[in-house]
Symmetry: D2
Subunit: 369 residues, 4 copies
């Protein structure tokens, strides 16, 4: 691992001095960086003190700088990097130690093996490396997976529950935005058997960035503004990874109902989950269970009982806020989570895995406000 020198400001007595201290910066590539997820990933990596961005690929924007494509980045150190072509060769030419893949589903798989075998540690933000079971993949994505062994080797990149596996993995399948908001509140309760697994209903509301940066009339301002609508009813693809992780937590296969909705905000996911309480459960036990599960998780903020989450408190941060309530009238628990779909739900969570993989403090570059 190359050693880099970083300058720091020192003040000794009345004097100030710049001191070079030795610190590692990881050479990093971003593959497919021109969508909303890629943009958010770049925003985080440009300011990340442990990252040296050596390569960003884009078929569409090859030859332009990051700040040409994302004018928001102008004037920020590193934003004059030019997008390069998207071939494996051009990526490896930059000699990265780490590569983030922000590509469409089905495309990331084309890069995985070549990069991993070249010694590059991969964090994939698509769905290509999230599942374990090739049958489930085919059921939800409509074709056989192109590299089943690598898919099965890959770790599901949810740091709160797979920290150790992430640390030693060659390739991480970073969770989807909806799944993150659903899995995090539920896993502790399922592990402790405080809810009945077959009664879970999750309603999620997403900002329009979740639909991607596409030229499509459906996402025209006038079609989304002052509009609220469900979509992909009744079987959104994210169900596959949600049920994989929840089944593992419950210790038995389970199926949930999940209904995504499109809302007129740029970013943010709000998820409201209901489930029937197990006979031994209570508000106090729910509270204790969640508090124990996330006592040391730096990005999970537990709001407390009867405290709804609000996406405006988490947008552009890597936090997920979780509130809960018990409805005594019906014997159900209500779980409410809020996250930013392109940060905790995509780029931020991927960088969290990166920090773990490269043995950096977990929150490095991720205290965003």
């Amino acid at each position: 691992m190359p050693i880099r020198i970083q300058t720091l400001l020192l003040s000794i007595g009345g004097f100030r001095a710049k001191l070079g201290v030795i610190m590692k910066r990881v050479k990093t590539a971003v593959v497919g960086a021109s969508g909303y997820t890629g943009q958010e990933l770049l925003r985080i990596l440009l300011l990340h003190p442990g990252v040296e961005l050596v390569c960003a690929t884009s078929r569409q924007y090859e030859g332009k700088t990051l700040s040409d494509v994302f004018p928001r980045f102008r004037g920020v150190p590193g934003a004059d990097l030019k997008f390069c072509g998207a071939s494996v060769e051009s990526i490896l030419g930059a000699a990265p130690q780490a590569a983030f893949l922000a590509l469409p589903h089905g495309v990331a798989v084309e890069y995985g093996r070549a990069l991993v075998e070249a010694g590059v540690r991969v964090i994939d933000l698509s769905a290509d490396f999230r599942l374990n079971d090739p049958t489930v993949y085919e059921e939800f994505y409509g074709k056989p997976h192109a590299d089943v062994p690598l898919m099965q080797e890959a770790v599901y990149g949810m740091p709160e529950w797979h920290h150790k596996e992430i640390a030693r993995s060659r390739i991480v399948g970073s969770p989807g935005c909806y799944p993150t908001s659903i899995i995090l509140p539920l896993v502790p309760l399922l592990r402790e058997k405080l809810i009945e697994p077959e009664t879970i209903i999750a309603n999620s509301l997403s900002g329009v960035s979740g639909a991607g940066r596409k030229a499509d009339v459906a996402y025209h301002f006038c079609e989304c503004n002052e509009s609220m609508r469900a979509y992909s009813v009744p079987r959104h693809r994210h169900l596959s990874e949600i049920e994989q992780e929840l089944s593992a937590a419950a210790g038995c296969p389970l199926r949930i109902t999940f209904i995504p909705h499109l809302m007129p905000v740029n970013t943010g996911i709000l998820t409201t989950i209901t489930a029937r309480l197990a006979p031994n459960a209570s508000l106090q036990r729910i509270t204790n269970c969640l508090q124990q599960a996330y006592a040391t998780a730096p990005f999970v903020r537990l709001l407390g009982a009867d405290k709804p989450a609000d996406t405006k408190n988490v947008t552009r941060t890597n936090f997920v806020d979780i509130g809960w309530a018990v409805d005594d009238r019906t014997g159900r628990v209500i779980l409410m989570s809020a996250e930013d779909n392109v940060v905790k739900g995509a780029g931020g969570q991927a960088v969290h895995s990166f920090n773990i993989m490269f043995d950096l403090p977990e929150t490095t570059g991720l205290i965003l406000l």
Copy 2:
């Protein structure tokens, strides 16, 4: 009652013609007209061909014209009417035949008996006359009802299910915005026992007008824009009327989970309901049931199976759009409804009752686009 002439479309042989017929205009008062519900009610009534607006009350704006307070109305015939004081005497002084009450909960009840006994037919948009059971009222509204006999006499003003009772009623309790969006999709399925009553979960998303026109930082633009949040968890007051109507449809008492959310749109409610299918149910039976129930309902638009509703298609109209789907994986039905909270969910539905009470064609003044 003054006599007016209205045109009707006639079809004689191959020819179509409009015929002028003699028709009444009903002298109408609006009590408490300065909030968002009052504003919407006035918008509808100003253009309603069967209404003569004789009185609009407002403590805050007494002496100002409708168009002073709502500049949107300037230049519209009738908008130079002046707000008068809110005493029963000043209302009766205008000799109305009908009165809409757009007052806060607990205030409307002060007007009900005096107006009814003076021969004024009352359509109340608050919660004061929606419930039958005084115990339930007290449980949800925190104090005993001030006029139980009149509350019990009042008809729940949902024209799709109480048309006859509305026609002959002296006083109507017009349904709440959330309840309308929840009751309409569910009643047919409960009546035909196609779903299991105890499994109903309703998630509703409302525009900010639903919170009223209040000077409260919680509804400041910057607190609502780019924000999504649940509230009143787990027991919103509207549960009382929802469960009253659903229990009647099911033929047994039932309890549901209902979770309201605040969304950054001006108006609109989107409701997503799930319930477990009864053993004998199927997508086809669900579809048939809804189609039979609403075949002649002028304001219920059935979108069809697997067709999500979108609030932008109903805002400012009196339509409610309903779509549905069956999730075979979990055996649940998903019902999706969209309405405008201040039209079908308030002012429009109240005018629909008014049309029925005064024997006008149901859609008079309510084909709004």
Copy 3:
């Protein structure tokens, strides 16, 4: 022409009554009805008592009904009309008396002559028939006009200033959205020489519907929401018709600076104009001049001195609100106008011309709230 009966309000002695009178409904075609302007035009025409919609064309949606394409229209009488192909033959096959053209610039001209010569009276909403001078057309639209004689015959369809010519015209070029908001406040002041013509600066803010219903990333929700930007600086095409009309009012050629901006609202234009006062001008004279000019104009609402206009009061209506102020410190007048870009700025104003052409009361079908 089919014969219909319409009601009119009569006042006889102290009594008011509605009388059924025999009235025509004009057979009407809408050519190119699938954009935001077409949608708004259809919204107005579907509810217009003097219109029988006999034809709506759309290449893209041929064979679908109006309500298939615009689900908002479902359940409204007439919305089951099917879009037909866009050939002149298919339009004439429906035997319309009037045709609205809601086509892109440069396409409308292909229809104008054929329709006019077939006896159809044409209201064109594109820029093809707004200008008198072919040189100006070529300068701003980049190619010679394809039918200069018809362009020169066409009347500029601003009812406030060209009522008589509209009444007798075969073809009307209905004004652009920005021009309407700029010309209306300025014409009276230029005619009375209360401002210095060469000092006019107009800044206009438009909702995103003004950009059209295009699949273009520039109008993606996330690119427009929480964004404010100018565009087409320094020479927007609308300058051509603005300067044509203002020069006519001033009695001499003039040039203005006009800067359009894109704002995150669905519809609405807010225009702020400054100009230096002529030596003889004053706030009082400005006020008098505007009041005299628009005393009988049904859709111009004068707000008064020091009263800014607000688009939320005019959206979805055919009103334009105008306020004004004098800045004594700098000797300038500030004019502020608000309109809905797709109603007064497009569909509503076109229907206003239609009403005049077919001798209907000016406000027929245009009292929209």
Copy 4:
């Protein structure tokens, strides 16, 4: 100045170690921290490596933590600081070296002298210390200034033009949001006499956060969303500081027309300025002039000729983007600037002055994305 120890991550060979390095952190107070400006200031200061936040005052929230009041800050180091009372004594009790005043106009002046005389360097974000001339203050703020000597001592805190004075000042009057967006583009052109000073017109569009965090129906979501309106026409208070700075640049007194507008976005100011070119000016000279003026300014991003600014590229950053164009038809220059009203227009610019006053690198804590 107290000496603080900060830990840094070191990687030497395969080992990692935490090393304490000596670095100054300035003890800092924020007075009046509960509005939108205070919130933004806190956001920046919490993450600023040269700041130790020792005191935040709020009458309303005394005793609550920063993250109680701003849930967005939960989990961020330092956010458990408690708001204290707003007396000078309680501020001085925390022994700050620097104090930011984020108080209403007319209140900040009560704190200025006491803090300055206690040796605290003050950055005031209100209008109390921006003006030099007490007559102008009284004209625009309606009463005599309460501490004219301190007002005249205070430096106008625009780092691009007053860097040296800021460095040695005891008290800085940090510029207003609108003035920043107007002064920065104009000063270079006025200094080089490339425009005619008396022809300047500035139209500015502001997000609703600019109106403050007030319980006022005028800023209710439904009153601002889908609304565009001008206000404070024709004489907004900010004119006083704008004209002060522009007159200094021009070398002669000048007056401009300035028209602020309220737009439905949370933050951001877009300003469009027109002025007549001086006889010797040209697009090339304008471009050169701006480029020379801001060649080394870290937060001014020059977009180039014919490049409009877009607020979405600057929100939440300390950048101001400036584009320009020349309209040859009218001989005017058009200047377009975009900034975040609560960052470059308030909190960020204030921290920029702070960095200069305490000899920190200018961009410390201000590279925000």
